[in-house]
């Protein structure tokens, strides 16, 4: 009731735990599993820093209870790089293009962009990229380099 048992596949690993039903997925990931790559900004769905993939689709982990993810699959930013630390092409493209300064918003951008690239395999236009990242706020870059990085990620991926 106020506690529940959940089984969630997180970054490929099945996690079974008793949790409080009021825990947000973002807090569960960060505070209970130590996956602090998912950042918590506004906690009401506006900033996008906490964006993760749920069954492959981007969602706000601050607008989900952890218990709602029971039986589902979660991917966080920690799943992107390879074991030896080699960047995922999207991360590499962000680094190459100075698409981050303070980096607080970056995990959310990376996860949104991952889903965007999977659902839009062809090189998108700038407008399509802007639309795709419109749910993620960045206060440092002015977005131009993020747009460049997304285009570059399409090149690196090939």
């Amino acid at each position: 009731m106020s506690n529940c048992n959940v089984k969630i596949k997180i970054n490929g690993e099945v996690i079974e735990k008793e949790i409080e039903s009021r825990w947000l997925l973002s807090d569960f990931l960060r505070d209970k599993l130590g996956l602090t790559g998912t950042h918590v900004g506004c906690e009401h769905g506006v900033c996008g820093a906490c964006t993760i993939l749920l069954n492959g689709e981007p969602v706000r982990s601050c607008l989900m209870l952890a218990v709602q993810a029971d039986g589902l699959e979660v991917e966080t930013v920690e799943s992107l790089a390879e074991e030896d630390g080699t960047f995922h092409p999207i991360q590499q493209a962000f680094a190459n293009n100075h698409a981050l300064q303070c980096g607080f918003c970056t995990p959310g951008f990376l996860m949104s962009v991952k889903n965007f690239m999977e659902t839009h395999p062809e090189l998108p236009t700038d407008d399509e990229i802007r639309e795709a990242i419109s749910g993620n706020l960045c206060r440092c870059t002015g977005y131009s380099n993020i747009i460049k990085a997304v285009k570059d990620a399409y090149v690196l991926k090939c």
Partner: protein, 293 residues
């Protein structure tokens, strides 16, 4: 910014959900996608004893076609409606408007029933449903009833839903052959709630005169507003620029938008007229092109 303590209930089917509502309704909140409710919990503006998570009640999910309407289950997600070929074909006003609901990351969780039940005066779906003259089907453990948007939306965030009822499905009437439609909105940033929004469906006769006009404005009053005098004025007329301008501004004095730092009352009223004129023009162009042939 963390939800208060509550007991979490997750019904597996509609009957279980209705039984839980009958038992705990007064102290319970239904949770569908959680995209409006969780912010309220995080800010402690809502502190229910029970959360009834209907997100896995399969009977409430899906998009089906009936003779006159596209019927969408209460927990169907915005993205599923946005991508539906059936909706695009039979009720494209909905496809055009739903893209304005938040961002993709909100629409992957947010649901049709949640948007309607939340009844934000600036939300897109209540405005679109009102323009279409659709219906809301509510169910409790005792009965199922169908109401019009005018009966359903009572005021700002207030609807006729009783604590033991939930929204089972929503009926969006199809857009008929010979009709055109348009949705127009101005929001401060893409993905924000509307400052003002307009949804229009226009049916033309073979000779080009307006056979029917259905209009709703959102964000201008505490509930979606139907400008009846403007609709009547349009019917039977052969539309031209001056007639559409006159129709668009006919009832601006009946609008009572809340002014705030993002836009004064006067600005929102003025904007309503501009958007309505634009929407009428686009809807009529589409009807003339016979997009719906």
């Amino acid at each position: 910014m963390k939800p208060p303590k509550f007991s979490y209930l997750r019904p597996n089917n509609l009957q279980e959900a209705l039984d839980m509502l009958a038992e705990y309704g007064d102290d319970a909140k239904i949770m569908s996608g959680g995209q409006s409710l969780i912010p309220l919990l995080n800010m402690r503006l809502s502190t229910p004893g029970y959360i009834i998570d209907i997100g896995r009640v399969e009977e409430l999910k899906g998009i089906k076609e009936e003779e006159d309407a596209i019927v969408i289950g209460g927990i169907t997600r915005h993205v599923d409606v946005e991508k539906s070929a059936l909706v695009q074909e039979k009720c494209p006003l909905l496809t055009e408007g739903i893209r304005w609901v938040g961002h993709n990351q909100i629409r992957t969780r947010g649901t049709i029933g949640g948007s309607i039940a939340h009844a934000d005066p600036s939300a897109e779906l209540p405005c679109i449903l009102t323009a279409l003259r659709g219906e809301i089907v509510m169910v409790s453990s005792e009965e199922e009833i169908t109401v019009s948007p005018e009966e359903f939306f009572l005021s700002y965030l207030l609807t006729s839903l009783e604590p033991n009822q939930l929204i089972k499905e929503i009926r969006f009437p199809k857009i008929k052959k010979g009709s055109g439609y348009a949705f127009e909105e101005v929001a401060r940033r893409h993905g924000d709630f509307a400052l003002v929004e307009v949804a229009v469906v226009i049916e033309l006769d073979d000779d080009g005169t307006i056979a029917d006009a259905k209009i709703a404005l959102g964000g201008a009053n505490s509930v979606p507003f139907i400008p009846e005098a403007a609709e009547e004025f349009l019917i039977g007329k052969l539309p031209d620029d001056s007639i559409l301008k006159e129709a668009a501004t006919l009832q601006l004095d009946d609008l009572d938008p809340e002014g705030d730092i993002h836009g004064s009352k006067e600005y929102r009223r003025y904007l309503s007229g501009v958007l309505l004129e634009r929407a009428l023009n686009r809807a009529i162009d589409r009807a003339r092109e016979g997009v719906f042939a």
